[in-house]
Symmetry: C2
Subunit: 403 residues, 2 copies
């Protein structure tokens, strides 16, 4: 969608792509490609919402947005166009608006933790790092193996800020005119990038079983003498394991080794090999994609064992990512040590005051690290000094480098 509301997109102005020509025709008016949706949605909200009876209003959409990044794009993490889920919700009271936060967090965590096997840390941004229009911003943060932090799903409580800017008012039960309370929340295809980067290895993609469409690939090892019998067993097993959408790779023009690599590259969680020796023993050989471990399993036990193995892989991926996150996190009250930790590619928990100037200094002195989120455990900071200015600290805050 192209928005004509050029006057509202000032916040994103440096990142707006402008269409000025169509075919051979110069347009009379240049049109902005949507970098965000507030400017399209909120003027409509202002028209639709009249009374408390229209509230709450909850809109949820998937949409492509374009942000003209001038830095180098990184596939899936930072690209000029990406697919975005965004919710824009409006409430009659602050209390209802605030109560939505934990609901959204839970929904997003379910997708990312339970399906993508990515453990994250949920935390609130500092004033400097929050979304400009919000009262506060909370995000889930993930860690890659290069110790860069990825900002994941986010929740902004906007208070009445946008309501005042876009004139979103309603008559309450007493007939009094009030500004509405709003939230914005989002998740994007960037989480796929995090999932690929965190679980995959030098052989290619590693897909968590709950995400993988085809959870199994069956590779019959074909020799002239036993081919027919092996294929028959492979077909039988494919049918039996139908609920896992197995792929049967019976191509004869490729060697088993070549097939192994191909399916490893594509991240299929389990490989079932069936050769003449397996046939004799009425068993198959199973290889787990995540750690290459081999198991021999009786054909008669497959239906029982496969779900357990898939569950196991899912848990192992989650636990490995959790280990990565924990082992790359440090705590210090000493500035020199913090700078060294960041050089060593760690995320560091430090005491800081809430001055934005200190955050600028932090960025300068660490070569680009920024505050990530305030310690969600709310550990006491009473006796600590800001790691930058040495004045009394306001909170413990994680700092590190992000994409």
């Amino acid at each position: 969608m192209l928005s004509k509301e050029a006057e509202h997109v000032k916040g994103f102005a440096p990142e707006v792509a402008w269409v000025t020509e169509a075919g051979d025709t110069k347009l009379n008016e240049r049109l902005a490609i949507r970098p965000t949706s507030e400017t399209i949605i909120y003027p409509s909200y202002s028209k639709w919402i009249r009374s408390w009876k229209n509230l709450p209003l909850k809109y949820n959409q998937w949409v492509n947005v374009v942000r003209w990044e001038f830095n180098n794009p990184v596939l899936f993490f930072r690209t000029r166009e990406f697919l975005f889920n965004e919710g824009h919700t409006v409430f009659a009271t602050e209390k209802e608006a605030l109560a939505e936060g934990p609901q959204i967090r839970k929904a997003y965590e379910k997708v990312v933790e339970e399906f993508m096997a990515l453990p994250g840390i949920y935390g609130r941004k500092t004033n400097k790092e929050k979304f400009a229009g919000a009262v506060f911003t909370e995000k889930i943060h993930y860690m890659l193996s290069n110790s860069r932090v990825i900002e994941g799903p986010c929740f902004h409580h906007d208070g009445q800020n946008f309501a005042k800017a876009y004139d979103i008012k309603f008559l309450d039960k007493n007939g009094k005119e009030e500004y509405a309370w709003q939230n914005t929340w989002a998740i994007s295809t960037r989480m796929l990038g995090a999932m690929f980067a965190i679980h995959s290895d030098n052989k290619g993609l590693v897909l968590p079983p709950k995400v993988a469409e085809n959870k199994i690939v069956i590779i019959p090892i074909l020799f002239d003498k036993t081919k027919e019998k092996v294929l028959k067993l492979a077909e039988k097993i494919k049918k039996e394991l139908n609920s896992f959408s197995p792929i049967l790779d019976e191509r004869e023009d490729f060697s088993p080794g070549r097939k192994f690599s191909e399916w490893e590259l594509k991240g299929i969680p389990l490989r079932i090999e069936i050769g003449p020796k397996d046939l004799e023993k009425n068993q198959v050989t199973i290889v787990k994609r995540n750690d290459s471990k081999k198991l021999e399993i009786k054909v008669s036990s497959l239906k029982k064992e496969i779900p357990k193995l898939l569950e196991q892989i899912q848990t192992e991926l989650y636990n490995n990512a959790k280990k990565l996150l924990n082992s790359n996190t440090e705590k210090t009250e000493n500035k020199k040590q913090m700078i060294q930790f960041i050089k060593d590619k760690k995320m560091v928990l430090v005491p800081m005051c809430s001055s934005e100037k200190c955050e600028d200094v932090l960025k300068d002195e660490t070569g680009g690290a920024k505050t990530l989120f305030i310690d969600p455990k709310n550990s006491s900071v009473k006796n600590s000094k800001c790691i930058i200015c040495n004045k009394p600290a306001d909170y413990w805050v994680y700092v590190g480098k992000t994409y």
Copy 2:
């Protein structure tokens, strides 16, 4: 995605949107917004495909495209940006490529006929109306209540045309270099427009049950004395019908009538009303969204009756659309009569020769009607003359107006 392959997009040139500025910066090179994907995908195919072992190659994606329509946009039918499913497949032989057609047709028909309850007619385009790069084009066609024809899912057999243009070659089993055979196929969110337009009525949306996320809305009729009991029954029924994702609208600040209108507007297939009288008789009142028919059903039979009613609505919607299609189709060999039929908003089956000039004349003389598809029944045309030029006809072809 923005493509730099400006030289390849000439076919779409009048419809290309050009980005020339980003923020305050003029770009050195203007960038085209993707109007189609061939120019992005096929140069990669040319690099990836080396041997017959790489074939078939089948890519399927959902993507937003932008086409700078200069005519008035019609929401869902003809908009500047739309979401598009496109398949780009490559085969080693013409036979394999041609065999894909019926598979694709079947998959698309399943979505549109079975889920959206839209009967269509599958047919091949004339040479003039086919996609420029294709050997032939086939589409499914649907009819709206204003007798405009909507072109739905399409299948293009590209032969070796793109392979030659983009140099997509492979070594066959004998080591000989060959051009590959390709197909392209697509469906878009335009089908949602067809579904909305064909089934809906003056009260709002009518959703086919198989598409509706919430298939039922339960509206308790609340009076002070019986409120508690009615709500209890409503909750019980909601649980029992859980698999149909029912909505229970227990808001007390809205009248039942106001609630009826709201959910009719949103297209929920079945409304269950529960009032004090229903309570006494241990029954509910059910209203079908598609024809407003009321039924009284015992609470104990609900679980059995609901799936039947939903199935019935699905069938009724399909049959009504089928009636619309049939009753707006005429056949003639007389030009004057054809012109009158088109004025009367019909789709007309006529004999024509295959000259493109005759199609131009047809358009002129009918105020914009075009050939839609060649009679898929292949009725004999031996003794008929082209309705335009009077020379021997080549086929029976449907003509009419489209969006």
